[in-house]
Every structure is written in C-alpha cells, then in structure tokens.
C-alpha cells in the first residue's frame, strides 16, 4: 500500500482546529500539526485521549538521582576520612542537605533537557518533507499521512475547513 502525505497550510487558529476535528471524525489519527507558537485551542483538541506528557517522569527520576547522589557523596566521603572538626558529627546532615538540594536541581534540570530532546526527537539533521518555513512566522500546518487512495479525500476536507493552500 503506497503511503501519501497531504499538507494543509492555515492562516487562522479556528480553521486549523476545525480541520483537526474533521480529520478525526473521518478516522485519521496520524497527523502532525505545526504552529509558530503553542496554542491553547489546538492543544485542547489534540490532548483529548492522550496521556499526559512523560517529561515530568524524566524530571522526577533525575531529581531523585541527584538527591541520592548528593547525600551519597557527602556521607560516603565524610566516612572515608573521619576527621572531626568543630566538634560536629562526622555525618553532619544539615550541611549535606545543601549539596543534595543543589544536585537535585542540577540533575532534575539536565534530565528535563534530555526529555525535550528525546521526546521531541531532537536534534534532527533534516527538516521533514512536510515542513514549511512559514510555520515559524504566522502559518499553521496540518500534515496527514494516509493511504494514497485516501489523499484526495483528505485534501478536500482540509480545503473545506479553510486551508489557504493544500499540497500533496
């Protein structure tokens, strides 16, 4: 079965949302929406039936790793050379909290960055074939992948929803 992709370019948010709804109603689920900015309305339509983005899981795991590293490093190294200073215990928890806190933030932040890269499939060397430079200015796009014989139907519904331009 030959695959095809159809790209509809929109100038308005409401027409884009309308097109997404219609595509869904016709049973298309494999499409990519391009937008110059994150738009609440588009996101609301797309987020239906989608689980929450797993970015927070990355942050949580990174943060916990950082915290454990912080406590682990300080406690282990203090025990390694048990030098009493200022009459304080060898394992002095309050100052070690500071190190653990900083490492929580550090690894939590770095793993959040990793999440953007991994989940957003970045870095990507080439632009996808349906990308148009106007998508970083003021145009919205819907790229639908479908079977070749359904492409005309997709084109029609994109133009009916109000696409300025439809490309195959």
């Amino acid at each position: 079965m030959a695959g095809a992709s159809v790209l509809g370019i929109f100038a308005h948010v409401d027409t884009t949302v309308k097109a997404i709804r219609e595509l869904r109603a016709q049973g298309f689920h494999d499409f990519t929406v391009y937008s110059p900015i994150p738009v609440e309305e588009i996101e609301t339509v797309l987020e239906e039936n989608r689980p929450v983005s797993p970015v927070r899981l990355f942050t949580l795991i990174g943060g916990l790793t950082g915290m454990l590293t912080g406590f682990g490093l300080t406690i282990w190294s203090a025990l390694k050379w048990g030098l009493v200073t200022g009459g304080k215990p060898i394992v002095s928890i309050p100052p070690f909290v500071i190190i653990a806190f900083e490492l929580t933030i550090l690894l939590g932040g770095l793993s959040t960055l990793l999440a953007i890269l991994v989940l957003g499939k970045l870095p990507a060397v080439r632009r996808s074939s349906t990308y148009d430079p106007r998508f970083t200015v003021d145009r919205f796009g819907i790229a639908v992948s479908c079977a070749a014989e359904r492409a005309p139907a997709v084109s029609r519904s994109l133009s009916q929803a109000g696409a300025e331009e439809v490309r195959r």
Binding site: S35, I42, S77, I98, A124
Partner: protein
C-alpha cells in the same frame, strides 16, 4: 479599543521587528565594542600581572583577604538573580508583562554568573588549582569538606550557571528556528545547527511546554538558594556583623533589587536604539520601577533590623563593629549605601518618575553603585574591625585589583553586546503569545 487593535503588531511584524535587531551593526556599535574591548584587555593584563607578582599586587594583606574580589563576586551573582526571577518566578505567576523583557534579563543572568564565576578564580591566586574544589577520586583519598560554605558555593554557583544556560537555551530554541527560516547561506547553516531541527510540531510543543514549566519550577527554589548559600559564606563565620540569620533573605532581596536595576540599564538603551517601543512599553518600565521600589523598601527594613540587632544584642563587638562602620575610615561608603539604596529609589513612588526614562536610568545606576558598596561595607569594614585590635586593618584598592574589577564590567558588556547581535533579545514566540490569535470568524 479599535485604536489599540490597529496599533497591535501581527505575528509577521514580530518576526520582522525582532530579526531586524540582528542586522549588521552600525559603526557606533563597533565603537562601543572597541571601548569595551580595550577595557577588557586592561583587565586581562592586570590579572596577568597579579598572577606574575602574587596577591600582594591586589592589596591583599591580613585581615583584608577578601576585599574587592569577593565584593564583586557577590555583586555579580546578585545581578543574575533578577533575570531568573523575571524568567522563572514571573512565568509561574503568569505575569504577562515579562514576555518582552525576559530574554534580555535571562542573557544578563547567564553573563553575570559567568562574570561572577571569574572572581573566585582571580581571588584564588593560583587559579590553575581551582579544580581542587571539585569532588573527584584521587590517589590521596582526599574529598572536599562538605561542611564548608565555600564548597556549598561551588555547588550552588555551578548548578546555577548550568541551569540558567539550559533554561536560556531551551527558551531560545523556537526563536533560533525562526531566525534559521528567515536567513540564508552560512547563517542558515549555523542557526540551523543551533535550532537542533526544531519545527514546532504538536509533539515538540507538547513536551516543550511541560518541560518549560518544570524548568521554571526548578529554577525558582534554585535562585532563592543560590544567594542564600552566598550569604552563608558570611553568616557561618563568627565575624561581628556577619553572624546573623538575617543574611539569607537580606542577600536574596538585595540581589533581586540590584538585578532589576541592571535590567533597566540594559533594556532602556536597547529599546531606544532598536525602536522596540511597541514591545517594551512604558507599562513595562512602570512595573520594573515598582519592583525596584518594593525591593528597596524591604532592603531598608533589613538595614534597620541589622542596626537594631547589633544594638539590641548588647554584644560589645557587634556594637563596636557597627559604630566603626558608621563613623570611621569607611563611613563615606556606609552612608553612600543608604543614600543610593534607601533614599534614591523613593522617587519611584511617583508614577511620572517610573515612566520617565532618564529618571529611571539615573536611579538604576545609583542602585548599582549602592549595591556594590553594600557588599563592600559588609566585607571590608567587617573584616577590618573584629574582636581585638591586633587583627584590625585597613584596605585600600590598588591599581591592579581596581583594573580587574573594571575589566569585569567590560567582560559582562562585551558578552551582552555580542549576544544582542547574534540572538533575538526579545522572545519572538512569547511576544506572539500575548497577541490575539489570528482567527477567521470573529466571535467576540
């Protein structure tokens, strides 16, 4: 309302106006760059001289071992705080007015922390051994003393720098993609590589938005912790005037106060030279003015508490230290701090002053001077007059350390001037988000 709508820029206008700031610079820009470059060169030469001659060249002698370098270190770390406050805390509070100024403020944070980070190295003398501060396995089984505030500093500052850079870069990502799409030739290649292939797909935005909120939530406690940790460099010591639980909030507030002043010092000329009036409006300056006023009032309250605690403690050395600061060798610096930080910002009670750029500019400069001297007053007179006369001592700046400190300002400005010509100093995406979405059928 109609008039307002007529003046509102479109999405394409935003791209055009912001990318316009990246056009080849004018001769005046190169003129400024050369001046700043010369000052930086002088600073580098002075540092070289100090490395060659030893720390005596910087006027360091007991008890005055911290002097201008640690003053400037605390000053620069403080400057960075306003950037994170604007980009992270105001983001979490959904303060929409931040959108046009946060990028410049974030750049300021990164460069200020980069400047601050130089001072411990300069101050260490043999800075090629700076890596001794880091925990790494070595054949002598030596580890850093994690109970030392100086080691906390290493962790706090390096985390702060890393997270600020990451947050800054993530914020820039969609904007770099916009520049990539607007440019040609080798520029397209460079911006293309930096944009990491960003396309603005629903998938990318979805994770991006989540991640951005998480970054803001991580940066918020971080920024409050960093200056607290810096303040503990002082508060953990027994020196009169330093050993106080007041120090953490006192430092954090002072940091934000001086940082806002620096933001104004940077964005007022940017707005003027690039005609960014539709984006950075009087409303923004007014809001910044109010924040400076509030932080100034809080700072004044801390000053009163500081003096009151010294007196009320009944501690002889605390009282003597305060008395010495206020009346002896460094009294001029002590009173200058109050004039600049507590009195000068009071003019901002008037709305006319908050929207009058020259007034705001002058107040901001005074605040920066006042805040530098505040740290000077904590460090130099503090160390100069502690428990017994044998350890008292006066510090006067030398040509070498003064040149290095002035050179640090040049380093900061050269980074900032370079940045504003290669990266969008106003966020394209976030400014667009504040505009009404383009819709076909108006239904409101």
């Amino acid at each position: 309302m109609n008039q307002e709508a007529a003046r509102q820029p479109t999405y394409a206008d935003v791209n055009r106006d912001v990318i316009r700031t990246l056009e080849p610079p004018s001769p005046m820009y190169f003129g400024w760059m050369s001046v700043v470059g010369l000052i930086l060169t002088a600073g580098i030469l002075a540092w070289t001289y100090q490395i060659y001659m030893g720390m005596g060249a910087a006027g360091k002698r007991t008890p005055q071992m911290w002097a201008m370098y640690i003053t400037s270190f605390v000053f620069w770390i403080g400057i960075g705080h306003a950037g994170t406050l604007i980009s992270a805390i105001l983001y979490l509070f959904r303060a929409r007015w931040r959108t046009s100024i946060f990028r410049g403020a974030e750049a300021m944070t990164v460069f200020a922390v980069m400047t601050a980070g130089l001072f411990p190295l300069i101050h260490a003398g043999r800075m090629w051994f700076a890596y001794w501060l880091l925990p790494y396995p070595n054949q002598r089984y030596l580890w850093p003393n994690f109970r030392s505030p100086l080691v906390w500093d290493v962790f706090a500052i390096s985390t702060y720098l890393t997270i600020s850079v990451v947050f800054f870069f993530v914020g820039l990502l969609p904007d770099i993609a916009a520049i990539r799409d607007a440019s040609t030739g080798w520029k397209k290649k460079i911006y293309g590589a930096l944009a990491l292939g960003w396309e603005g797909t629903d998938r990318q935005w979805r994770h991006y938005r989540r991640a951005y909120g998480l970054f803001a939530s991580l940066a918020t406690p971080l920024v409050l912790s960093v200056h607290s940790v810096v303040s503990w460099d002082f508060a953990m010591a027994l020196v009169p005037g330093w050993h106080s639980t007041l120090f953490a909030p006192f430092f954090v507030n002072g940091a934000i106060f001086s940082g806002f002043a620096m933001v104004l010092v940077l964005i007022i000329p940017m707005r003027y030279f690039w005609n960014l009036y539709p984006y950075i409006t009087d409303k923004h300056l007014d809001a910044m003015g109010k924040l400076i006023l509030v932080t100034s009032l809080v700072l004044t309250y801390f000053y009163v508490c500081e003096a009151f605690t010294a007196w009320y403690s009944g501690d002889h050395f605390e009282r003597a230290s305060l008395f010495w600061k206020a009346t002896k060798s460094y009294a001029w610096a002590f009173w200058l701090q109050y004039v600049c930080n507590s009195l000068a910002p009071l003019v901002l009670f008037s709305k006319r002053a908050r929207t009058h750029t020259p007034t705001l500019y002058v107040v901001s400069i005074l605040v920066l001077i006042g805040m530098w001297f505040e740290r000077f007053n904590i460090i130099v007179p503090g160390l100069g007059h502690d428990f017994y006369p044998y350890t008292w001592g006066i510090y006067w700046p030398t040509v070498t350390d003064t040149t290095i400190v002035i050179g640090s300002f040049a380093w900061f400005f050269i980074l900032f001037l370079g940045f504003i010509k290669v990266m969008p100093s106003v966020s394209i995406v976030e400014v667009k988000e504040t505009l009404p979405h383009p819709v076909k059928e108006a239904h409101h």
